[in-house]
């Protein structure tokens, strides 16, 4: 809606992100505990007759559960924490308004030890400036239109306003 500043990181979204990270953490600890319990039970039930089979099952459960836990830890909790840190950094920072024609680059870039981003070009009467936007929020910015006032914090688009 023209005239209304829309934040790419509203408080509700940050709260949701925190809840998601907490839920994933609980899930992966539960999964790890369940897998460990299963492996310990299988080991205790092993005897000379069935030890080969029990060992294979134990290795299988441990390996697969470990993969799932690692995946959730790296790409669930890890990525969520990076996004939350990035969002908090932008929200707390000073914002500078830039008005012009906004073009969002379709190519994604992965910042080392941080989030994926896309380039944003803003054409103003003074010339063209480029900034970055969280790739997860880029489509929202692109759908808002071309003529926007973007609010920049630490070189990233933190909010936007549709120009009348």
């Amino acid at each position: 809606m023209p005239g209304q500043i829309v934040s790419l990181y509203p408080p509700e979204r940050l709260r949701q992100l925190k809840r998601k990270i907490k839920a994933l953490r609980i899930l992966l600890w539960l999964l790890a505990a369940a897998a460990l319990t299963a492996c310990v039970v299988l080991t205790c039930c092993a005897n000379t007759a069935n030890s080969s089979v029990m060992m294979l099952w134990t290795m299988g459960i441990s390996t697969v559960a470990g993969w799932i836990v690692l995946y959730l830890a790296i790409f669930g909790v890890g990525e969520g924490k990076k996004e939350l840190a990035h969002a908090s950094h932008l929200v707390e920072g000073e914002q500078q308004a830039v008005t012009g024609t906004v073009l969002v680059d379709p190519c994604r870039m992965k910042l080392r030890k941080s989030i994926s981003v896309r380039k944003v070009f803003v054409r103003t009467p003074e010339g063209e400036q480029s900034f970055l936007v969280n790739a997860a929020r880029a489509e929202e910015l692109r759908r808002a239109g071309e003529r926007l006032t973007v609010y920049i914090s630490h070189g990233y688009v933190a909010a936007y306003e549709v120009c009348p």
């Binding site: 080991t43 092993a46 080969s52 470990g66 690692l70 995946y71």
Partner: protein
């Protein structure tokens, strides 16, 4: 697609975990499957072939009191530098004679129980016959222990004897019980 990309980006991590998991549980199962010397009876068999796992499972059906494990190994296992000390040895007659000739202190003299045939050497008995070459029959033959090749009859008898380092034959130094005798009797009673 995104999941596949993520997995490929951390492929080395997943591979390392798989390797660590296999090694860790393999080591744990090695520990779980073993027991201290006082709680296990170890049998070494020098035959054409043995089904060591099946024989161990069979012998563990009647575990002596105080024994948690029965380990069965091919005789070469001991020859290649292992420090495992055997309680029971099953060897050919010529091999038993060689052992008694070269290292008589390594084999325990025994009293032959009724119904068994012993191996006499130098006035004492050192072994119990487990395979008879004349009839080509032996305990557990064809199911757990292969005393002869399929196309060639075995020319020698096989004998079961006890190592002097055993702790499971009463009369041996440091013996804690007579479990090796019980396992030997169980071994000799296997179907011929």
């Amino acid at each position: 697609m995104k999941i596949l990309k993520n997995i490929l980006s951390q492929f080395h991590t997943f591979l390392l975990w798989a390797l660590a998991s296999v090694l860790l549980w393999g080591w744990i199962y090695t520990l779980v499957n073993d027991a201290p010397r006082e709680k296990k009876v170890t049998v070494f068999i020098n035959a054409v072939a043995i089904d060591d796992h099946a024989l161990a499972v069979r012998l563990e059906e009647h575990l002596p009191d105080g024994i948690r494990k029965i380990k069965v190994h091919d005789f070469e296992y001991q020859m290649i530098g292992s420090d495992v000390k055997g309680d029971i040895y099953v060897v050919r007659a010529s091999q038993l004679e060689q052992m008694l000739r070269e290292k008589p202190e390594a084999v325990l003299p025994i009293t032959v129980p009724e119904g068994c045939i012993g191996y006499d050497y130098g006035g004492s008995c050192y072994g119990l016959r487990i395979f008879d070459a004349a009839s080509q029959t032996g305990a557990g033959a064809g199911k757990y222990i292969w005393y002869a090749y399929l196309d060639e009859p075995q020319k020698e008898d096989y004998y079961l004897c006890f190592g002097t380092e055993t702790v499971h034959v009463l009369g041996a130094d440091g013996a804690v019980d007579n479990a090796a005798w019980e396992v030997a009797m169980e071994l000799l009673s296997l179907e011929k």
